[in-house]
Assembly symmetry: C2
C-alpha cells in the first residue's frame, strides 16, 4: 500500500475534504452576481476573524507578497521602519524594507525568544517618526509568540503603526485587531484558514490608512487604496484566485459552526498536549514563549535525519529547523485542520523515529500517554 | 432544476473535472521530494508550451502581477518603454510603467484593430534606447491578435526587448518564443491552461536577461533573478500556490496527450465556426484581425442586456464590452477547455437571446447551422 501521508507542517496545512471539494466546483466568473455573493460572505467572515470593522483586503499572492504590500502601501520613500528580528520571518521585514530603500532599525532577538517590550519601547523613542513597527505574532521559524497586545499598548500613543504578520497565528490564537489596537494585520490562506496557499489577507486601522493615503512607494498590482475602493463592491481589481476564494467561503462557514472560542481552545489544547508529550519524553522546548500553532523541540539527534526518516519511512511530514537551527530542532504543527489524534500520530512517529535513530530515553508510549492525559483532563 | 452553468468567458475558463480533482488531492509540502517532482514536470511542460529553452518562472499572482513583474525586473529607473495600446490590456502597460516612473511612448491603436508594424518601426527608431516594446498577443478586450512574429523581426536587431502579454493567447495559438525571437513571454493560469486563476508564468530570452541583470526598480516577492536561482532546483522562493501547480501538472499531461498542434487546430476550428455562425446571422465582427481565442461581435441590441439575459435566463456566461465598447459588443470565448458543442451552445443561446430581445434577422438554427458546417468540413 502506498503511504498514507500525514501533512503536519506549519504551512501548507491539511485542507479538509469538504473545502477541497468546494474548490473543485465549477468556477463562477469574477464579475458575476454569484461570485459577488461569495466575496461578500468572505468579506464579512474575514472581518469577524480579524476582529475589525475595517475591510480585510484579499490578495492573490504568497504571504510574503502581503508583507511587501503592507510596507509599500504604508511608506514614503524617506520613511524609517523598526522591525523585530527573532527568526526567518522577522529577518524578512528587513529584507523587504531594504529592497525599497527604507531606513531600518532592527531589534534583534535571539532565536527561540520573544521580544522584550522594553527594547521596543526604547526603539520607538529612538525613532519616534518611524512609520511602522513590524513584528510576527508567531515567528514560524522558532515557534515563539511575540507579545502583540503589549506592543500595541506601546504604539497606541505614538505615530508609529504596529504591523503584525500573523501568517501562522491568525485563526489559531486571539488577535482582536480593533480591541488591541493593531494597525496592520495580515495573514495567508495556507495556515489556520485550512486552505491551499495562494491568497493573503490584510486589514489596516484608520491610523494606518492615514499613512496609506500619503504613501509614495511604487506599486501597481496590489495598491490598497484602489483595492479598497473595488473590494467594497465585492469585486477584486484583477482576476482573483477564484477557486481559493470559494474554499475560503466554505472555511468561514466551518469556523462559524465551530465558533472562534472553540477554535482557539482547540489550538491551545493541542499545543499543551504536544508540549506535555515532548517533556514527558525528556525533550526540551526550543521556544521560550511557545505559540499555540507550533511546538518547536530541541532534537537529541540530527533533526534533519529525523524529519527525513519520518517522511520517507512513515509518511509523516514534520519540518526541521532553518539556518542556525538546522539539524538542531524539529517543529510539530497544530495549526488549522488538526485534532487530538493528529497529535497522537505526530508524537507516536517521533517516539518511533527517535528510537530508530538510537535515541530512546523513555519507554514507547510515554509521549503519547502524556498527550492523552491532557486530552482527558 | 437549478441552471446548468456554461462558463464561456475568456478567463476564467472552464476547468476540466479531471484537473479540478487533481487539485482536490491532499497537498504535498512545497519543500518535499514529491512536490519537487511535480514542479520539475511543470517546468519541462511550460518550456514545451512556451517553445523555449529558457526557464519559465512560476509566480503566484494574477496575470497583472506578471505584467508588473516583467517591467520591474527588466527596467532601470530612467528607462523608456514603448507600448501598444489597442484596448484595456494595452492601456495597462502604460499604467504600470507610469506607476514606476518610467518614461512611456504610447502607440495608440483604434479598438478592434491590430497594430500596424510600420508604426512600431517608427517608434523603435524614435526611441532606440527603449528597454521594452510591450504588446498583447491577443488583446482580450477587443479580440484582436497583434502581429507578434512581425514585431519580433523589428526588435530582433534593436536593443529593445519584445515583451508579450500572452495571457489570453498562449496555448491557443502558436507563439514559439525562441523561434520567433520573443524576449519576454508571459501568461496566466485561467485561460488556455484550463486552471483557476492564481498563477502566472514568465520566460525571458538571453537578451532580456542581460537587462534583468542590471535592473534597479524596487521589488521583493517576485524578483526574477532570485526566483530563477531557486526554481532551477524545483522550488519556489515563497510558499507557492501548491494546489494550482498540482492542477498544472495534470493540464500539461492532458495537453501532451492532445498534442500542441491539435490544440491549436481545435482553437482555430472553434474560432472559424464562431465567426461563420455570427456572419450567417448577419452580424459583423468587431475585431479586424480576430484571435483564435475570442470572437468579438458587434451587437445589434444593447450587449449588456444580451449578456444579462443569457446569464440570468439560460445560465450561459458570455462577456460584453468594456469602456467605449460597453453595450456595443459581446465576446464569445473559445479558449481552453472548449469543444465543438460548446460553440453550438453559445451560438444557440445568442440566437435565442437576440430573438427574445426583438432582433431576429434570420430563422432559428441559421447560426448553429453555419457552425456545424465548419465542423463537418
Amino acid at each position: 500500500m502506498p503511504f498514507k501521508h500525514y501533512l503536519m507542517t506549519p504551512g501548507p496545512t491539511p485542507v479538509p475534504r469538504r473545502v477541497a471539494l468546494a474548490m473543485a466546483q465549477p468556477l463562477p466568473h469574477h464579475r458575476s452576481p454569484s461570485f459577488e455573493r461569495i466575496f461578500a460572505e468572505c468579506r464579512q467572515g474575514l472581518k469577524w476573524i480579524f476582529g475589525t470593522l475595517q475591510e480585510v483586503l484579499v490578495q492573490s499572492s504568497s504571504g510574503t507578497g502581503a508583507l511587501e504590500a503592507a510596507l509599500v502601501n504604508m511608506c514614503r520613500q524617506d520613511d524609517e521602519v523598526i522591525y523585530v528580528n527573532g527568526g526567518k520571518f522577522g529577518e524578512r521585514w528587513g529584507q523587504i524594507a531594504s529592497a525599497y530603500g527604507l531606513k531600518t532599525h532592527e531589534i534583534r532577538v535571539p532565536w527561540g525568544e520573544a521580544v522584550d517590550p522594553a527594547l521596543v519601547r526604547r526603539a520607538l523613542s529612538d525613532a519616534p517618526s518611524a512609520a511602522a513597527l513590524c513584528v510576527q505574532a508567531c515567528e514560524s521559524s522558532t515557534g515563539i509568540a511575540h507579545p502583540i497586545r503589549e506592543l500595541a499598548e506601546l504604539t497606541r500613543h505614538s505615530d508609529t503603526c504596529l504591523v503584525v504578520d500573523a501568517v501562522s497565528a491568525l485563526g489559531a490564537m486571539p488577535l482582536p485587531m480593533d480591541e488591541w489596537g493593531i494597525d496592520v494585520l495580515l495573514t495567508a490562506s495556507q495556515k489556520a484558514l485550512m486552505l491551499p496557499p495562494g491568497l493573503a489577507f490584510s486589514a489596516a486601522s484608520p491610523k494606518a490608512w492615514s499613512r496609506i493615503e500619503h504613501a509614495d512607494l511604487p506599486r501597481f498590482a496590489f495598491d490598497w487604496r484602489a483595492e479598497l475602493a473595488t473590494q467594497r463592491h465585492d469585486r477584486a481589481r484583477w482576476t482573483p484566485a477564484i477557486s481559493l476564494i470559494m474554499g475560503l467561503a466554505e472555511v468561514l462557514r466551518w469556523l462559524r459552526e465551530e465558533t472562534l472560542d472553540s477554535v482557539y481552545a482547540r489550538h491551545d489544547r493541542l499545543a499543551r498536549a504536544a508540549r506535555a508529550a515532548m517533556e514527558a519524553m525528556g525533550l526540551t522546548l526550543f521556544a521560550k514563549v511557545p505559540a499555540a500553532s507550533i511546538t518547536t523541540v530541541n532534537c537529541p539527534v540530527d533533526s534533519e535525519l529525523l524529519v527525513e526518516l519520518l517522511r520517507d519511512s512513515y509518511g509523516v511530514g514534520l519540518v526541521g529547523g532553518q539556518d542556525a537551527a538546522k539539524g538542531k530542532i524539529f517543529r510539530i504543527a497544530h495549526l488549522g485542520y488538526f485534532d487530538d489524534f493528529d497529535i497522537v500520530v505526530a508524537v507516536a512517529a517521533i517516539e518511533r523515529g527517535l528510537a530508530e535513530l538510537g535515541h530512546q530515553a523513555v519507554p514507547f508510549g510515554t509521549g503519547v500517554g502524556a498527550a492523552l492525559k491532557v486530552f482527558s483532563a
